[in-house]
């Protein structure tokens, strides 16, 4: 037997009266808004940094959502968004092959040179 428990906290109102999204079982994944990755430039001259991700129906809405979610405390002056499905990532199971070989090649760090005293900021 399935028992459905409905629980409302003080001041909360049921979804039916709130206009919010239907409960999980009614959501059709194909109708859900796509996921977007957000990159924020915090100030002129710096690069865009990954800030997080959010759902939006289109690029315009993704930028506005990013503006509201990630820059409301003056965190940014420029926003990039890209649909998450267009990001291709390296596979975790290949990390041994990809990254481990660099471990014993410390000579790739430029630390084996004697710098003349006159050279600063190195």
């Amino acid at each position: 037997m399935q028992i459905q428990v409905k629980k409302f906290y003080y001041g909360d109102i049921p979804d039916s009266g709130s206009g919010s999204a239907p409960s999980a079982k009614q959501v059709n994944p194909s109708e859900e808004w796509p996921l977007w990755e957000v990159f924020i430039r915090s100030k002129q001259g710096l690069d865009h940094k990954h800030a997080g991700s959010l759902h939006a129906a289109d690029a315009e809405m993704a930028i506005e959502n990013a503006r509201d979610v990630y820059t409301r405390r003056q965190e940014g002056i420029s926003i990039w968004v890209v649909e998450s499905k267009y990001i291709h990532a390296s596979k975790p199971e290949e990390s041994g092959m990809l990254y481990d070989p660099a471990e014993d090649k410390i000579y790739r760090h430029p630390t084996f040179y004697d710098l003349p005293d006159a050279v600063k900021h190195m």
Partner: protein, 257 residues
Amino acid sequence: MSAHTSNQALIDYTLHLADSSLIMAQRSSEWCGHGPVLEQDIAITNISLDLLGQARHFYQYAAGLINQSADHTLKPATEDSLAYLRDERAFKNLLLTELPKGDWAQTILKHFFFSVYQSLLYTRLQTVPDKDLAAIAAKSLKEVAYHVKWSSEWVIRLGDGTAESHQRMLTAIEELWPYTGEMFRAADYETGMVDPSTLHAGWLKEVQDVFAEATLPMSSESVYMHVGGKTGLHTENLGYMLAELQYLQRAYPGAEW
């Protein structure tokens, strides 16, 4: 016009601007925690806070004017006393702002109607001789420009969306349209400030452009228009809202966080 009555008109006008922003903010804030998706929940809460900020500027200015006048029934006034301790009949907000939040379509359409009106009004208010009102208008315009963009895009998205979202927009238009006329009918205290009737044509044009893109029909100009909010005659909705808004300060005068 004597100095006293003109000062009273300026106070009333400032309170009218403050009240419309405050009531709009309070109504929209009901979505906080209940938005259709998390990101839009934050968006509408941000917008509510923008409007609350505008209301504060206007209330602070009105409080200063009241305190400078020789004898005023609202003296001594602060931004808080003006928001929390005035009764329903003293509120001069547009009726449109106090209507129930309805579904998302009604909230969106209300924001669209109001934001387009505000952007036209504040653009003109920037140039009035009163420096304080002009400064508040100038500062608020950037926020309002974003509200117009945000709500227009939503009107188009819902109007030109699914059969259901289109139908909900039609219902919202039917519900809200009769409350749009009040924005452009001047109350006595608006004499000498921005004449709202001169904003009407620009407002219709902007609404028409967005509705066209949203595949939504324009309503008739000859629909009966409800008025009264500007002079304190409100719908039954305002009393309930003020009861919630003002309860704490009325029950525990001067209570602070």
